[in-house]
């Protein structure tokens, strides 16, 4: 169960959400059938809670949103991309610890 701090993005609202965000946005590309993605869920929730107000955290289901997935050339999940001012500024592929994720984000918030 995703935390209420974590937004759910779709092909339809991806651009408007990124443009409208007042903070950098961390997007978690995931799918229901991806074991590691599920393992990453609690880490994403924790980062969203700890950096509330400084970072917007969102998930995008790759099964349901092929357009965004295609635009960013996602060929593996979990992939996390950090957007700032609507532009991708950093990314990490595969499982990552909470500390490592916070370190990655720290330089951009």
């Amino acid at each position: 169960m995703a935390s209420e701090k974590v937004l759910t993005l779709t092909d339809g609202d991806f651009d408007s959400t990124l443009q409208g965000a007042s903070t950098p946005v961390l997007v978690d590309f995931w799918a229901e059938w991806c074991g590691p993605c599920k393992r990453l869920g609690p880490t994403i929730d924790a980062v969203a809670a700890e950096l509330d107000g400084k970072l917007t955290v969102a998930k995008l289901n790759v099964d349901e949103n092929p357009n965004v997935v295609g635009r960013f050339g996602i060929r593996g999940i979990p992939t996390l991309i950090l957007f700032k001012g609507g532009k991708a500024v950093d990314q990490v592929v595969g499982l990552v610890s909470k500390d490592a994720l916070k370190d990655m984000v720290a330089g951009h918030i």
């Binding site: 992939t79 610890s97 909470k98």
Partner: protein, 307 residues
Amino acid sequence: MDTLRDVIIIGSGPAGLTAGVYTARANLKPLLIEGVMAGGQLMLTTEVENFPGFRNGIMGPELMAEMRAQAERFGAQIVQGDVTSVDLGSRPFTVTADDTGYRARTLIISTGASARLLGLPAETSLMGHGVSTCATCDGYFFRGRPIAVVGGGDSALEEAIFLTKFASQVTLVHRRQALRASKIMQDKAHANPKIAFAWNSVVQDITDTSKGEVTGMVLRDLLTNELRTIPVDGVFVAIGHTPNTSLFVGQIDLDENGYIKTHDGTRTSVAGVFACGDVQDHKYRQAITAAGTGCMAAIDAERFLES
């Protein structure tokens, strides 16, 4: 600093969770630190057909969820952190995970092994954009596309066979003329019309880093040294594993390949530290052998605490 415990287990694959079940049932109230790859390598597999007790097979992640629940049922305390350092210099041992320090009289190391990579710069920069070490995670992105699997062991063939569900063709790249994999896996692979073989070949390069996606791979024929380019959209690397022992370098005896050396069961070079599963086994590397050594480590730790 946390309270002093009898046992801390690092890692949550079959070895660690079995050690968790046994030490919990022995009333040692184990703390099990899962690590970022919680559940271990079985989380990246699909059907496990050779774990005794499941005659119809069981999904890897489901098996791990069962083992985890079983350890918790008997009172194992499971925490999510990733261990960043250990101090094995004096007892009690100290383990630090996500800025929290834990202390214990005994330590069971079951940190497992991770997929080995080819070591090409292009491999790193294209990871997640066509290069993968996890067929079950990423196969989905290659529906109707040609891909390659690098390797010749059971895991490589399992990945190749799984990936034929999605890919138009799977080229298996192997450095020898014959596979190392078990006969049953070889038969399955040879019978699969979507699998082609590139024998005596190694991957020299993966293209195209300038586009940020995989467009092909350059293979070198080891017999003729000739280079050839094969267009593929994905490269799945399955060339074995390296043990996750960087935390222990200089503190515990490792063999020349980095595996923890064990003697007299699961004892290591440090009294009170025990190792089980793939972190100390490059030979068998099965879920059931990992679970077996996890049980051994739990019993060894229990006896050590009694003595």
